[in-house]
């Protein structure tokens, strides 16, 4: 059943109003990034006279966003690859392998999925200090892998639980080991589940703030969100420069979201929260 046009129109109006409430602040910030300081004073939604990239260049070099960007890319890549790999193995263990102690292991891992980062930040700081890695990006990578495998394990185990047993049985009869079954039979059909996991962990890691704020003190090791927060403290009044910085931080997650939104929304609607 479809709506006749007469009924569609008011529904579109409602959607447009609520969509504009979301988009107008983002659009305003976006255009500000191309303006000069005087143009910003003229009116919040006036268009820049010249779409110049000067502010981006200044944020990139003077604001050291080039360094923050590099750090964010390294941390996010390392966390995504290792978390997804480890979670695939552990999810396989939970969902498809004999696992004595499963009944108490599951809640043990579930706890990590529900606790807030505030619950672990203080000991993590001391732990990194003990390891002597507070001056390296490892101090950001290792804890975030630990926190991500909790969700990842549950996400992947529910995938493996729902794969047909005939498939793996057939593979075993053909002489596949468990390891071969995982990588040659199951991994190819796990692509949608893995893609969702990749985009979610990427976004969480890219946007993570508290750990990155506390666990590294060296300015050269800051990630983009922390870099932007300090930048904001320094250039409070310079809206165009801050807008440019904000866009550099937000653009990669927005791009990935737009490209993979089917996977992304499926994960979020499935209750994928990071506590």
């Amino acid at each position: 059943m479809k709506y006749p046009w007469k009924n569609l129109l008011p529904r579109y109006l409602i959607l447009i109003v609520f969509m504009l409430v979301v988009l107008v602040p983002i659009w305003g910030m976006f255009t500000s990034a191309f303006k000069t300081s005087t143009e910003v004073m003229e009116g919040p939604f006036s268009l820049p006279s010249d779409w110049s990239l000067d502010n981006f260049e200044q944020a990139w070099r003077v604001g050291r966003f080039n360094i923050f960007f590099k750090n964010s890319v390294i941390v996010a890549t390392a966390v995504v690859i290792s978390s997804v790999f480890l979670s695939t193995l552990s999810g396989y263990a939970f969902g498809a392998l004999p696992l004595p102690g499963k009944s108490w292991l599951y809640p043990l891992i579930l706890i990590g999925y529900m606790v807030p980062f505030e619950a672990v930040i203080i000991p993590l700081y001391n732990l990194m200090d003990t390891f002597g890695i507070t001056d390296t990006l490892w101090a950001l990578i290792l804890p975030q892998v630990g926190l991500s495998v909790s969700f990842g394990t549950m996400w992947m185990s529910s995938f493996f639980e729902n794969t047909p047993g005939e498939l793996t049985d057939a593979a075993t009869i053909d002489g596949c080991s468990r390891w071969q079954t995982l990588w040659y039979i199951l991994w190819p059909i796990a692509k949608p589940a893995v893609t969702t996991l990749v985009v979610l962990i990427f976004m969480w890691t890219w946007n993570e703030f508290l750990l990155a704020l506390v666990l590294v003190q060296n300015e050269a090791l800051r990630t983009l969100p922390v870099g932007l927060a300090f930048f904001q403290g320094k250039y409070t009044a310079n809206i165009p420069l801050m807008a440019a910085g904000a866009i550099i931080v937000a653009l990669p997650t927005i791009l990935i979201y737009v490209l993979f939104q089917r996977f992304f929304i499926r994960g979020m609607l499935g209750g994928a929260i990071k506590g």
Binding site: L23, F94, L99, I121, F209, V214, L228, A246, I273
Partner: protein
């Protein structure tokens, strides 16, 4: 669902452990043991540097429960629950019921836009809204002046009365699209026959909403509650970038209190006690809502 967890002939029954072990070790070291260590620290007095770590039993908790700053932070978190959870869920339910059950052509486009605040770093959201609320050239005050409401063109984030609702409404902005998309997706699964039968019985739109739509969305509402309440209770990034808890303590929240106690005031034990209480509150609420969700699915089957 096939039972694929059986062991194969000749296979060790510990096989799964080899696959679990790497993830489990990383998890134990960087998440689970730190949680236990936080709980342990909450019974000590410690500045974070010295060797001198003194066991003081429950003293941190006793102090915590009579600390007006903690009460204030907790109260602000509860007010954030209204802005992060209650209002977005009500907006989401309202919109979902207005838009109704049939697919709307082009909805994917709206969905993309409505979901956008969910993917943006909260620091960026903070930067955007500090500009929106800027007293001199921010869009909100420019608009108020243009329509002659100059008296309301105040310094929103610096105002003792308005800072908290101002920061809270940013949370509403972030969450409502998520709730709306969640509920609309859920409504596709409610069968038309229920509504048709209710119409025949003479139930009006409001009654249909209360008796069919809301129960039908039980599981989606549970997901929305868990997600948004937890977001409201652990809010940190947004407060850090917009107000740092000010002016005074008017926007101070528990997450920021932990950060300040641990890393500004060097009171590790006290910060750990706040973190333990916050974690407990979050665990209890999520378990409670999950139970409500499970009860719902048992009843409907």
């Amino acid at each position: 669902m096939a039972n694929v967890t059986k062991k194969y002939p000749g296979e060790s029954r510990w096989k799964g452990w080899w696959y679990l072990l790497p993830a489990l070790l990383v998890y134990l070291l960087f998440t689970f043991l730190p949680i236990l260590e936080t709980i342990r620290s909450s019974f000590y007095q410690w500045d974070g540097f010295s060797q001198n770590k003194v066991w003081i039993g429950l003293a941190n908790y006793v102090e915590l429960f009579s600390d007006p700053k903690f009460h204030n932070a907790l109260r602000n978190n509860l007010i954030f629950v209204i802005f992060y959870s209650l209002i977005p869920i009500l907006i989401g339910l309202f919109l979902a019921s207005m838009l109704s059950r049939r697919p709307i052509p082009g909805f994917a486009f709206f969905r993309t836009a409505l979901f956008l605040p969910q993917v943006i770093s909260m620091v960026v959201v903070g930067v955007i809204w500090r500009w929106m609320f800027n007293p001199t050239f921010g869009p909100i005050n420019s608009l108020l002046r243009q329509i002659g409401l100059d008296v309301f063109a105040i310094s929103w984030l610096g105002d003792f009365t308005w800072a908290l609702p101002a920061v809270g409404s940013i949370g509403t902005w972030v969450q409502y699209g998520f709730c709306m998309v969640l509920f609309l997706a859920g409504m596709q699964h409610i069968q038309d026959e229920y509504y048709e039968a209710a119409s025949l019985d003479g139930a009006n739109a409001f009654k249909q909403f209360i008796h069919i739509t809301v129960p039908g969305l039980r599981s989606e509402i549970a997901v929305a509650l868990v997600t948004t309440i937890i977001a409201a209770l652990r809010v940190f990034d947004l407060v850090y970038t917009t107000t740092r808890g000010g002016p005074g303590e008017t926007t101070m929240v528990t997450g920021f209190l932990i950060y300040r106690a641990a890393f500004t005031n060097n009171r590790i034990g006290y910060a750990a006690a706040i973190a333990t209480v916050l974690t407990l509150i979050i665990l209890i609420i999520s378990l409670f809502i999950r139970r409500y969700q499970q009860q719902g699915s048992e009843e409907s089957t």
